[in-house]
């Protein structure tokens, strides 16, 4: 069996071997629905779509995904099992990718469990299911981006709490980069190309664009590069901090 899939299986199983996973999934589902119905007025809008539901995903992920990512490497370093893992015949890249994919699959499972809301809108009305599918894909990609950042941060510390806080701060910055308010300020101070650059870095810009129903290659490349970059960073950080 491929080492990546062996690590993937072990990691994913380890999520479900503690109650934390189930607590996480429940919180995720409760918040996802609460945001959509209470704040987003999913029903009151009188439209059969899941816009309000997906609009809150970035903010939901801001706190929940770093909570998944924080244990990726920090725990491994704290218990010393990193020494075991990295002296098995696997490359560091395989270990980084295997662990990342397991975390991603875990968030994916939580996301998939929101399917009742999809069924509900289909029952109540006639939504554009194509848009909903791309929105789910966009949401998953965004979660992957958050996770990859969290993975790199987690590799830099033994403390899961510190990993969590730093990841939230970085992700918050990347979310805000696309916010109209921030872009408005930026426009006053910065040249247009820089403003566009800032906007292009934002998760929200790309997520919104995908969740409109069109999967643009640029958005895919954005998330792909982002994930690739931060996984590479994870590997570099592990090398640098392995000794302590």
């Amino acid at each position: 069996m491929n080492p990546v899939s062996v690590i993937f299986k072990r990691e994913l199983a380890s999520y479900f071997s503690t109650p934390v996973a189930y607590v996480f999934i429940v919180i995720f589902l409760v918040l996802a629905n609460a945001f959509a119905f209470q704040l987003g007025g999913l029903f009151e809008r009188g439209q059969a779509d899941l816009r309000p539901f997906f609009d809150f995903h970035p903010w939901l992920y801001l706190f929940l995904v770093p909570a998944v990512a924080m244990r990726l490497w920090a725990e491994e370093r704290n218990t010393g099992s990193i020494e075991l893992l990295l002296t098995l015949p696997v490359t560091q890249t395989q270990a980084v990718v295997g662990k990342f994919l397991a975390a991603w699959a875990f968030v994916g499972i939580a996301l998939a469990l929101t399917f009742p809301i999809w069924i509900t809108v289909n029952y109540l009305g006639d939504p554009d299911n194509g848009v909903i599918v791309t929105s789910y894909i966009g949401s998953l990609l965004m979660a992957g981006g958050f996770l990859a950042i969290g993975s790199a941060v987690s590799a830099a510390t033994r403390s899961q709490v510190i990993a969590f806080i730093i990841t939230v701060v970085i992700c918050f910055g990347l979310l805000l980069a696309g916010h109209p308010l921030v872009l408005g300020f930026a426009k006053m101070a910065l040249p247009q190309w820089l403003v566009d650059g800032v906007a292009a870095l934002s998760f929200i810009t790309h997520f919104t664009s995908i969740s409109k129903g069109v999967i643009d290659l640029r958005d895919l490349i954005f998330f792909g590069l982002l994930i690739g970059f931060f996984l590479y960073a994870t590997s570099v950080v592990i090398d640098l901090k392995k000794a302590d």
């Binding site: 690590i7 072990r10 199983a13 380890s14 010393g80 075991l84 015949p89």
Partner: protein
């Protein structure tokens, strides 16, 4: 075969391992000794491919640990210090994970696991989460993991730490029983262990090798080597009598153990003379012991003066 050349590791300003070179051949069981902080674990971490050396090279089974790290790691079984494992897993799940990642064929897997579980007496805790196991059982799981793929080279960092006397004995038997074409490197603070299992001992202090010899040779360096120890009631009387024997240098009383020891002058053998003395003078002696040499004393002398061998 393990070849280590000028191996050096720096942690910032601290020189943890300082230009260490040695070669270990098949069939050798190398004991790694040294005071706390000497650099034993650091050296082992580099051999196992976890830490990158600051300088120097390591080759294991003909593979350079840095350039051909996967091949090298395949032929090593490694027990890190403290035997870390994934606490939420059971030994069953953990060993299956190790078997899969080490590429043990699915058909042979369960048999292989049953073998090591039996050898290390893990049957009773096979389905219990590792984090709830006692220290000794955790260590055994770590050992099971290290020998699972029947590696050519075993690197064990304090394998008997925390084990009960029965298990210590088991582990020593296990190491002795490994096929004769294997290489074992064990670090330990238990000096009797060196005699029990090692064919060779390296003592390091402050990151440098200060002695590299067989356990017998090390013992021969002890001032107790070939000394004679007597147990009796009248220690002062025995001391006086011993001092008159030809070849005896110093005579020392150990009032704690209630024994008196006669040290031979360099190169002299005094055992026969002392036994004759006892018989001739009908000395009241309850025990006579010919000392082989005391490793702990050699260890202290060597590591404290830091003298090179």
């Amino acid at each position: 075969m393990i070849e280590i050349k000028n191996l050096t590791k720096r942690y910032g300003d601290l020189l943890a391992v300082d230009s260490v070179s040695f070669t270990v051949g098949a069939g050798e069981v190398l004991g790694f000794l040294g005071p706390n902080g000497a650099g034993k674990s650091t050296t082992m971490k580099m051999i196992a491919g976890f830490l990158t050396p600051s300088n120097g090279s390591i080759s294991v089974c003909g593979f350079d640990v840095e350039a051909q790290s996967l091949e090298a790691k395949r032929c090593i079984g490694y027990l890190p210090e403290g035997a870390p494992a994934y606490g939420e897993m059971t030994p069953a799940g953990f060993l299956r994970f190790i078997a899969d990642i080490r590429g043990i064929a699915p058909g042979a897997r369960e048999q292989r696991i049953r073998d090591v579980v039996m050898r290390l007496g893990l049957e009773r805790v096979f389905e219990q989460p590792i984090e709830t196991l006692s220290k000794g059982f955790k260590r055994r799981v770590g050992l099971a993991q290290a020998i699972l793929h029947d590696p050519k080279v075993l690197v064990l960092d304090e394998p008997t730490d925390g084990l009960d006397p029965n298990q210590k004995h088991e582990v020593r038997t296990l190491i002795q029983g490994l096929a004769k074409d294997k290489i074992v490197i064990v670090s330990t603070h238990i000096l009797e262990e060196v005699h029990a299992v090692c064919t060779r001992a390296i003592i390091i202090a402050n990151g440098r090798i200060v002695a590299d010899a067989t356990p017998d040779e090390l013992e021969a360096r002890s001032r107790y080597h070939h000394a004679v120890t007597l147990r009796g009631d009248d220690l002062e009387g025995l001391k006086l009598a011993l001092a008159g024997v030809a070849g005896v240098g110093e005579v020392a009383i150990d009032s704690e153990d209630k024994v008196v020891t006669a040290f031979p002058r360099k190169g002299q053998s005094i055992f026969a003379a002392v036994t004759r003395l006892i018989q001739d003078r009908k000395l009241a002696v309850s025990e006579v012991l010919l000392e082989r040499g005391r490793l702990d004393e050699v260890f202290r002398t060597i590591t404290q003066t830091g003298a090179r061998s």
